[in-house]
Symmetry: C2
């Protein structure tokens, strides 16, 4: 039986290799969040992660590859924790619990930082079409989480038949993103709370009974 | 009588001086929009505007002063053209005309670039509190344009008394901003159109008769 440290995982890395790669991505994500992608060099990441240059280049051919891994990491970090809540977005109670989770998360962060995926988007959207599509896919994962709940609500007859759950989901994600930006600038949860309350109130207006 | 080129304007600059300052700001805004603030040096701006170093430093003590002028310029560029439409946001027809103006503007730009004020915000919000407050003020001007229309609609009795025009205005601006970000990433007007339609439909749900 191979030792767990040398056995290969799905991506062909040893467990130890996977941990090193993960450490590099985490430090890159943190630095890019603080200084922007343009303000972060491979050398900064190498130093912060405490690895050698050859280790960085073993896992990432270039900065572009590292940026793509950072987008993947931030998507998992931002959207992942909401997934258990997405499963409950088929009721108004579930929608309210999700809204509270997001507002509370901003309050705990003192409304700092905004959405990491949105920050990456603002900086990278006009630079590279592959990166733009990847970022669009990150938001699509988020949108689909909301949409699946609203579709289930619609199919169960709790949303009126003329309601369009896909459009409501897209509009809700847009509200959320704009709300996060204004909350970051104002250092106040009011914009994100008001934006999500408006979305929920529009959804509620489409409920039956 | 002094010649128009040497007479002083309100800010103490000659007309010629004001034009030079304006040219520097326009080129700085364009470069910062394309490359980000971090990716734009004073030297880049100087070269693009075709002025000397001493001219740049005559008008702007440092890059920080230039960034503040760029935020002011972009606010005027983005919010200014909407102001004649804001005056009509006290009717559903006026709201729909404003919605169409924004969607059409994105279509004409092939959904590229997103909102220049939002891009500056993503890059600068965590760096400097004065700049963050200035950006927050830019969005406040936008929000107040929408709010004044909805307040007038409320006072005229076209919105139900229990409706809150201030919250509807803030939620509408949030939708707009999130919609612009998703439209930029998807290169499709659907997100901005859907987001604004949702906001307008929420406002319409609060109208009387």
């Amino acid at each position: 039986m191979p030792s767990p440290r040398t056995s290969r995982t799905d991506d062909g890395l040893t467990v130890k290799g996977q941990r090193t790669r993960q450490r590099i991505v985490e430090h890159a994500a943190q630095l890019m969040f603080e200084r922007g992608v343009a303000g972060t060099t491979i050398e900064d990441v190498r130093a912060a992660a405490g690895v050698s240059n050859s280790q960085v280049y073993h896992y990432f051919a270039d900065k572009h590859a590292l940026v793509r891994a950072v987008i993947e990491y931030q998507t998992e970090y931002v959207v992942g924790p909401q997934e258990s809540l997405f499963a409950r977005l088929d009721t108004m109670d579930g929608l309210r619990a999700w809204r509270d989770f997001i507002v509370e998360h901003q309050r705990r962060r003192q409304c700092r930082g905004g959405c990491p995926i949105a920050s990456l988007s603002s900086e990278l959207a006009e630079g590279d079409d592959d990166v733009r599509r990847q970022l669009s896919g990150s938001f699509a994962r988020w949108e689909h989480g909301i949409r699946d709940g609203l579709r289930a609500m619609h199919e169960a007859g709790r949303l009126r038949s003329e309601a369009d759950p896909d459009e409501l989901a897209l509009a809700t994600l847009a509200s959320l993103q704009g709300g996060l930006l204004l909350t970051q600038l104002q250092r106040d949860v009011r914009p994100i709370a008001t934006a999500l309350d408006a979305s929920l109130s529009l959804i509620a207006a489409h409920t039956t009974a």
